[in-house]
């Protein structure tokens, strides 16, 4: 390649393609270009920030949860468990023998018994939602006990 020849061809081609170099980018192509880039970057940054909790802990957590559930069940089934007192001011819609009995319970030992009884009744299908509603507002702890009992009875029915 001759330096002089290159220079000649270079000048010739620069002149030939001048109109291509001077070609303006159409306005409609340029319109919103930088804003579009900014939006795409922001969207992409937001997407990468999505919180995805790691599931690596899941396998390890399963036995832990199982132990917690079992321990809760054992603790709740123990007679010495302290339970809050049911409010004596509870009104009942339709007095039933079982409901009346339960409404008068106030001691912790009796509350524990109540939960057991409710659980037993649920097992045989003798304790319904209507019965539950009839005993009125009960303490959260009692509710928890009943729910746990209910869970156990459901499990028992399922296994049966």
């Amino acid at each position: 390649m001759d330096e002089e020849k290159f220079k000649q061809i270079d000048e010739k081609l620069m002149a030939k393609f001048k109109s291509q170099r001077d070609k303006k980018v159409p306005w409609e192509i340029m319109k919103g270009f930088s804003a579009s880039v900014e939006n795409k970057l922001r969207e992409r940054d937001q997407k990468t920030f999505v919180f995805r909790p790691s599931r690596a802990w899941l396998p390890a957590a399963v036995p832990v949860f199982a132990v917690m559930v079992l321990a809760s069940w054992v603790v709740l089934r123990t007679p010495a468990t302290v339970a809050p007192v049911v409010s004596p001011a509870v009104q009942v819609a339709a007095p039933l023998p079982v409901v009346t009995q339960l409404a008068q319970v106030s001691s912790p030992i009796e509350n524990a018994d109540m939960a057991e009884e409710i659980a037993a009744l649920r097992e045989i299908g003798a304790w319904t939602d209507d019965d539950q509603d009839a005993i009125g507002a009960i303490d959260e702890l009692d509710l928890e006990q009943v729910e746990l009992s209910d869970l156990n009875s459901q499990t028992a029915r399922h296994l049966a």
């Binding site: 390649m1 109109s19 070609k23 192509i29 270009f33 930088s34 880039v37 970057l41």
Partner: protein, 204 residues
């Protein structure tokens, strides 16, 4: 009333550019958008000089700017931003051309929808007829781009940057990270190949 000296305008632009780059490095997308606005026309034009149509050039330039944002940490500031950005733009164009070639190849043999009974020879005849009806400037332009399709990537890049984008030989050398002699050699070989391909159709 005198005009602001060109040098002063250039210095102001350089300082502004540095400030925007610094802020963009801290993931300030607004600052980066302002930087894009400074260079968008040139970027699109350069991409256009590679591939021959503005719609695709816009997409390529957008893609290149997003990659530049991700790799701003690698920009040392020793050259102007656009000199560094050229490399990213050139790579984005190269990727586009590669994909386009594959698509064209598949489209040629299997049709645009992938039909099995598609006859590529039929399409060729139609294309030829359409080309002859076009304006001379457009036809020349398309023939030049067609000829460029046959060049190896580096020769095409050197040719485009010089004659379609107007960069100096030294600027091309910086952008392509090759010597001035290598730039000239690439351009020379590109011209010889295009002459061979175009024959007597267009004088190059």
């Amino acid at each position: 009333m005198g005009l602001v000296p060109e040098r002063k305008v250039e210095e102001t632009t350089v300082n502004k550019e540095k400030e925007l780059i610094e802020r963009a490095r801290q993931k300030d997308t607004r600052a980066f958008a302002a930087l894009v606005e400074l260079h968008q026309e040139r970027a699109i034009h350069t991409a256009y000089s590679f591939i021959g149509n503005f719609e695709d050039a816009r997409d390529i330039a957008q893609d290149a700017f997003m990659k530049a944002y991700d790799h701003l940490d690698t920009f040392k500031g020793e050259s102007r931003f656009f000199t560094w950005f050229y490399r990213i733009l050139a790579n984005a164009s190269k990727d586009f051309l590669r994909k386009k070639k594959v698509r064209q190849h598949l489209s040629f043999w299997f049709g645009p929808q992938g039909e099995e009974d598609y006859d590529p020879m039929e399409k060729l005849a139609v294309t030829h007829k359409t080309a002859s009806d076009s304006a001379i400037d457009r036809e020349t332009e398309s023939q030049v781009f067609e000829a460029m399709n046959h060049l190896p990537y580096r020769q095409r890049l050197a040719f485009c940057l010089r004659y379609l984008d107007g960069l100096s030989i030294e600027e091309i050398s910086q952008s392509m990270a090759i010597s001035v002699g290598a730039v000239k050699a690439n351009i020379w070989q590109a011209v010889q190949k295009m002459r061979h391909y175009l024959g007597n159709t267009i004088e190059i």
